[in-house]
């Protein structure tokens, strides 16, 4: 029999503490869409997505109703488009972006990811064409998300691609300047990109994935923060246990939803992503979790240690709750999407340098950070190189999603709307790494990548 206190706990988590399912993401392979004719290719892509995900939104809504828990996003991730783009020219690949956008709009989903290239070792013709097209693709679409994997622990860092992405991010910002440079909010540069990540902007359907798959991302920072507050003055070992138990409960709901969605859509279940994903809503913040652990303000001394404890405990609780976990699986620290991070950045407690340190112990990287619009391309590439190095050296995913907000300088606020939130423009170190970035070439894989 169900215990009343358990029922009330669950209801409170949903109604008072912002517990929700952040996303149901359907991965769709586009390999069978290939064609000699670019128009035919675009038509095939459209048909495949529309057919595969026809019931995604309605199924999500049905599950939402059955369990009384919001499912905030329904999304699609496709095969990295660069893999289809070998014979396409600039216009051909932009046409694919528009096709993805049209399909997403007609399906009623929130985002579609996979306008992506994997160039950690070097770029193919398709990879080069796609990367060069990103600024235009993101300026003529609304729902398309793009990512470029420039490094891996096995392959090292493709510094030519890092240099190129500095220009691409800047150009994307300029081409979407009329909308707060929002194009950059949909563009991620990765090291060790996961192939089953349900979260945007970095989701794509990896090359080893099945034809179609359902991956689910949970949320729940508010639930963890409330549990910590209720626990009072316990010691850190007890705190870690408490977070583990809470993460278990959150993830079990993700697993329930994932299983049900997979069954209803007749698509294999892939993974549950254990990430704690914040939203700009008050009470749904990872920064508040850290502060409730005993920090005066997120960003102060002790922040990295708190985050390391949180991230580890979330994983330990989460793995018990689902037979298959994957994706990014770690606490997210996007600045613009987290009310506490926004406050901490505004008052100067949280800096880019501190955020970089924090990413060494959690997923995912320098995420949704607005920087001055006139930041030099080489500085952007330098920030990418630093962040990516952390991922490569630590055999983990790291990512960079920077927004050089055009016409804005340090202290200004940039608003992206909805879940993307708003961000204060943060100070960057303007000393130039241009000569280092200009060298190009490759940073070799670290010695510990040789594990065989």
């Amino acid at each position: 029999m169900l215990a009343i206190e358990n029922i009330i706990e669950t209801i409170n988590m949903i109604r008072e503490e912002c517990l929700d399912i952040r996303t149901i993401t359907m991965g769709i392979s586009l390999y069978d869409c290939l064609s000699e004719d670019p128009n035919r290719l675009a038509d095939n892509v459209y048909d495949k997505i529309m057919h595969s995900a026809a019931n995604l939104v309605s199924t999500g809504m049905e599950i939402e109703k059955k369990y009384g828990i919001p499912i905030v996003n329904k999304r699609v991730a496709v095969t990295p488009v660069a893999l289809l783009a070998g014979r396409l020219d600039h216009d051909g690949v932009v046409k694919i972006a528009k096709t993805l956008d049209r399909a997403a709009r007609e399906l009623g989903i929130n985002f579609i990811g996979g306008y992506s290239a994997l160039v950690q070792k070097g770029a193919t013709n398709g990879g080069r064409t796609l990367i060069e097209s990103i600024p235009e693709a993101l300026s003529v679409t609304d729902l398309v998300c793009s990512s470029v994997n420039v490094a891996s622990t096995k392959a090292g860092i493709n510094m030519d691609a890092v240099a190129e992405m500095g220009h691409i991010i800047k150009k994307t910002a300029v081409m979407t300047a009329d909308r707060g440079s929002i194009g950059c909010a949909k563009l991620v540069v990765f090291a060790n990109a996961p192939e089953d990540n349900p979260f945007m902007a970095g989701a794509f359907h990896g090359i080893g994935e099945p034809e179609t798959v359902i991956n689910v991302g949970v949320s729940g920072p508010g639930v963890v923060a409330s549990a910590i507050r209720r626990a009072g003055d316990c010691n850190l070992l007890e705190l870690a246990e408490l977070i583990k138990k809470t993460a278990f409960k959150i993830t079990r709901v993700g697993q329930l939803v994932a299983r049900e969605a997979a069954e209803k859509l007749n698509v294999p279940f892939g993974i549950v992503d254990l990430s704690l994903a914040p939203t700009p809503e008050i009470g749904d913040s990872v920064a508040y979790i850290l502060e409730s652990m005993g920090l005066e303000r997120c960003g102060c001394a002790g922040t990295t240690a708190c985050l390391a404890l949180l991230n580890d405990a979330v994983k330990k609780g989460g793995v018990m709750a689902s037979p298959q976990v994957g994706g990014l699986s770690g606490a997210f620290i996007p600045v613009s999407e987290d009310a506490g991070m926004i406050q901490a950045a505004k008052c100067g407690s949280l800096t880019i340098e501190k955020l970089e340190a924090m990413t060494a112990v959690c997923s995912v990287g320098l995420d949704m950070i607005a920087i001055p619009g006139d930041t030099d391309d080489a500085v952007i590439s330098g920030i990418i190189a630093d962040e990516i190095s952390i991922g490569v050296a630590n055999t983990k995913t790291t990512a960079v999603r920077l927004i050089p907000a055009q016409g804005c300088s340090v202290g200004d606020m940039v608003s992206f709307g909805g879940l993307l939130g708003e961000a204060p423009v943060m100070r960057v170190n303007t000393g130039s790494p241009a000569k280092f970035i200009g060298r190009g070439g490759h940073i070799p894989a670290p010695i510990h990548s040789l594990k065989n």
Partner: protein, 89 residues
């Protein structure tokens, strides 16, 4: 299969009557009711059997929502699996 109906709001005459009438109309059998009133604040948890339900679960959820809005209460029906998966290993 079971569903949990939660009713939260200011106490007034006939809350249980309204909810149970709606349940009866939908063929939903009430198995257990627990309620508390704290400083005029009413909380009721009703556990129900939905095996012989005459409407779809989605329609039942809508009916409860509507009844809640009409009575200035928060009334939600949720499938039992969300509680089972969260609290049982």
């Amino acid at each position: 299969m079971k569903a949990v109906i939660s009713v939260i709001g200011r106490d007034s005459v006939g809350i249980i009557a309204k909810v149970s009438t709606s349940c009866a109309e939908c063929g939903v059998n009430i198995l257990d009711i627990s309620q508390t009133v704290l400083e005029d604040y009413f909380t009721m948890i009703m556990i129900t059997d939905i095996d012989r339900m005459t409407v779809s679960f989605s329609e039942f959820v809508d009916r409860m929502d509507k009844l809640g809005r009409e009575s200035s209460l928060q009334i939600h029906a949720m499938h039992e699996d969300i509680f089972n998966s969260m609290h049982k290993i």
